[in-house]
């Protein structure tokens, strides 16, 4: 949702974060829960709180 808002592709985001495109895909499909470091980086890119991006349920 946030990625669409910022008009970024998975590839764009993966380059910004220094991870593979497949990792972004896994995060978006809830197959992988990223580390705190990656979560913080994502929240910085999307200018939102980590809570807005991830929840425990």
């Amino acid at each position: 949702m946030y990625r669409g808002k910022y008009k970024m592709t998975q590839e764009d985001l993966s380059i910004k974060l220094g991870v593979s495109r497949q990792t972004i895909n896994s995060i978006e499909n809830n197959k992988y829960f990223p580390s705190l470091e990656l979560g913080l980086k994502l929240s910085k890119i999307f200018e939102c709180k980590v809570d807005d991006l991830f929840s425990l349920d």
Partner: protein
């Protein structure tokens, strides 16, 4: 610090690992491996069933198995622990899970073999166990990476 080798060694180490594993296994089951490169070597301890001589001196020994063991272990370790082109935290997680799975399977096989294989034949279980963790890890990790890159 992640103790991983550079990605440029992955292909060549993989080629050496699988090639020497196959050749080494063939030479082992045909017993040719023990007759290769026979030299006088210093032995810290050795026991021969035929003449009950003990080491602590110079003995004649075929170095084929030692050479193959060294090449397989070094190339296997390098291939298993090379960085991916993009090494990220999900790759690290996949690597750790593959290593855990290969440890469980290999020690499971050792426990089963302990109760099914006896006497001198058990030596083959020990030899097999030297390499099975690396081979299993390589196979499981490669399969998981293949699935990951396909996603």
């Amino acid at each position: 610090m992640n103790y991983l080798f550079d990605n440029k060694y992955k292909k060549i180490s993989g080629l050496v690992f699988y090639l020497t594993s196959i050749i080494g296994f063939y030479l082992l089951i045909t017993d040719i491996i023990f007759d290769l490169f026979t030299l006088n070597v210093y032995s810290l301890f050795s026991e021969s069933f035929s003449d009950l001589t003990y080491g602590g001196g110079w003995i004649e020994n075929g170095l084929g198995d030692e050479i193959f063991t060294t090449i397989i272990i070094i190339s296997g370790l390098i291939n298993s622990f090379c960085k991916e082109k993009i090494e990220d935290e999900l790759i690290s997680k996949i690597r750790l899970e593959s290593l855990t799975m290969s440890l469980f399977i290999s020690y499971g096989l050792v426990i089963i073999s302990t109760f099914l294989i006896y006497n001198l034949s058990y030596m083959y279980v020990m030899v097999f166990n030297l390499f099975i963790i690396l081979i299993l890890f390589n196979l499981i990790f490669s399969y998981r990476l293949y699935k990951h890159y396909k996603s």
